[in-house]
Subunit: 398 residues, 2 copies
Amino acid sequence: MLEPKYKRELPPFTRAEFDGRAERARRLMARAKLDGMLLTSMVNQEYLAGFQCQFPVSSPSRPWYFYFPRTGAPVGVVPAVGENAWRTSSWVEEVRTWPSPRPENEGLDILRDLIAGTRRRYGRIGVEMGPETRLGMPVEDLLRLRDMIRPHEMVDCEPVMRELRFIKSKAEIARVRRACRIACAAFDLLPDFVESGDSEKVIMRKMKTRCTALGADDTSYMMTRTGPQGLPSWVAGPYDHVPRKGDVLAIDTGCKYDGYSSDLNRNFSFGKPSDAVRRAHDKLWRATRAGIEAAVPGATAEQVFLAQAAILNEGGSADGFKRMGRFGHGLGKLLTEPPSNKLGDKTKLRPGMVLTVEPGLLMDNGMMVAHEENLAITEDGNRLLTMRAPREIPTIRV
Amino acid sequence: MLEPKYKRELPPFTRAEFDGRAERARRLMARAKLDGMLLTSMVNQEYLAGFQCQFPVSSPSRPWYFYFPRTGAPVGVVPAVGENAWRTSSWVEEVRTWPSPRPENEGLDILRDLIAGTRRRYGRIGVEMGPETRLGMPVEDLLRLRDMIRPHEMVDCEPVMRELRFIKSKAEIARVRRACRIACAAFDLLPDFVESGDSEKVIMRKMKTRCTALGADDTSYMMTRTGPQGLPSWVAGPYDHVPRKGDVLAIDTGCKYDGYSSDLNRNFSFGKPSDAVRRAHDKLWRATRAGIEAAVPGATAEQVFLAQAAILNEGGSADGFKRMGRFGHGLGKLLTEPPSNKLGDKTKLRPGMVLTVEPGLLMDNGMMVAHEENLAITEDGNRLLTMRAPREIPTIRV
């Protein structure tokens, strides 16, 4: 079981898929009045250029750029060390390089020339600057570049990239689904491999070996936390803590497969669960069901939240929301993407969107319990991508 | 072997260690004329506040901040979902939270109030903006905040954080060493578990399961590439490619243990290596030895480069440098940190610095071969943290 014999990969994205993405990008750019986009995040370079390289995310020593004009040929602008990685993985034929690291000029002159050579219609160049973005280059260099490209104006292109990535293709959804199924298979076996005396860190490593053996490319997010009859809170751990009888173990994980992520969480009880834990688990299971039923085309992210909250409000506290800030979110290349299932998020669900449903419950003793499932919106409802969690909390023998 | 029974963790960082870091930070801030630093990257929040949380790196939906004034109490400013993670892991007692995601105001008002309440001496607040930094919040929000904190000026604090993190404590070096030893142990066993027919992706997953079973917390960087008598280039892969007899396999990995990274690479030959590969491997081994011998207190990063280049220049091409841009670099919490072993980098090596030595060779057929070892500078020379690669390239039976 622990040996990754897993060899049947999903077929690679077709050239037609990338052409379709580029075509949609150009339409959205025209609507947003952009002459070009300078993409610095790996996730958007992967999405639009098909570039695949683990290195930029782990090493901030060199920036990596993808310049995508609204008309004309796109260009990869990467450190010389990455030229072959670009040519091997991307459909984008033009690549320019510079000898990096070179802090005094990390390819900025190349970018300036490309932007100066862009057909000028709107005078606006998009850069990832808005909500939920992270810049893939130093801020100082971005501000220098902003001056270097005048009279072109630098504006946010987050809305374009968000809209572009909202609707997933079948091939994308297949990747999220595989990432989900890998984690689900590992969760299914968990009571057989977690032992009394394992610390949170050891449990995390055991889950990571299983997920990798089952085909995950990356398991870096594996939140592993235990606490008395629930968790002190969400997204913490693992620490060196060793769980005791009666504790709840929660793992929230985002396994990755071929550049796409799952995001699901499961709970386990060390020994027999208390009545309070059993009731909480059942309530969350029902809230999740309500959220799944509400996630249909035309509904809003807010409605998916409200459906879950209605169940949690039965007899009291939907206070988990105050801690978590939302009851699920978008999912795809990243563990978390827009929208947010929360009050005020009126994003309309459309076929091809991928969503998590994630209610959280604050128990009387102040502890948290949460659940999470992943689904894809379809023409007539949705398709669950995870294997549904059992209604009763599974136990680990201690 | 594949089951992570690994339970003996290194003792946690002491409070004295964090007090020492904070004290040095304050001295460096006075020298740089900073009244405060707003740290948005997880790596600097971990380093200075001791905050531990996997979530922010995987999920860009919410920003996480650490405000460190030169005088007065530091404050964690984190989404409500992360309050407990902060309290459990950090020595910093004051925490402020807001209900996130809230794109219209992601904690900016809290930051404005904290900065307004800072004792004003220089009127300058540091933010990570310079070389090799990545901002942990959207750029648009940073620019808004810059206006909100006037008359305080926003300036780069990269030089302060770089100097602060340059000199590693014994406890830090112990973590890098463990991360190195985990990868080395897995490399040592590699010829026994890689089989004919394994694709690059399968080989990567096999290495990841081993490293995790041996105690790695994270293995996200595992560059795995094969090519005929060398690699087409560096930092690419894994792809679906299945190596053939005579191919070289190179893995460059940065296993993480308790927040610290190793960064080493090893080569293997599928079947008997060609004479060209054998000679290249031997030359790199000798270049590495020369680099290690040159890495002593008082020497510069440039000198460590030159020592390696002198060996590679024997009889021809040190052209690997043109592709790689440097022959090694700093190492610590990140896979790559300053300085760069390259022409012009006059950074003086001091005891406590951790460095990689990484010569790369461009072969006659255009293929690359590289090596990498990690060491810590000591009072009287250095201490190797990796197990030295064998001088002869190991073979995998095919």
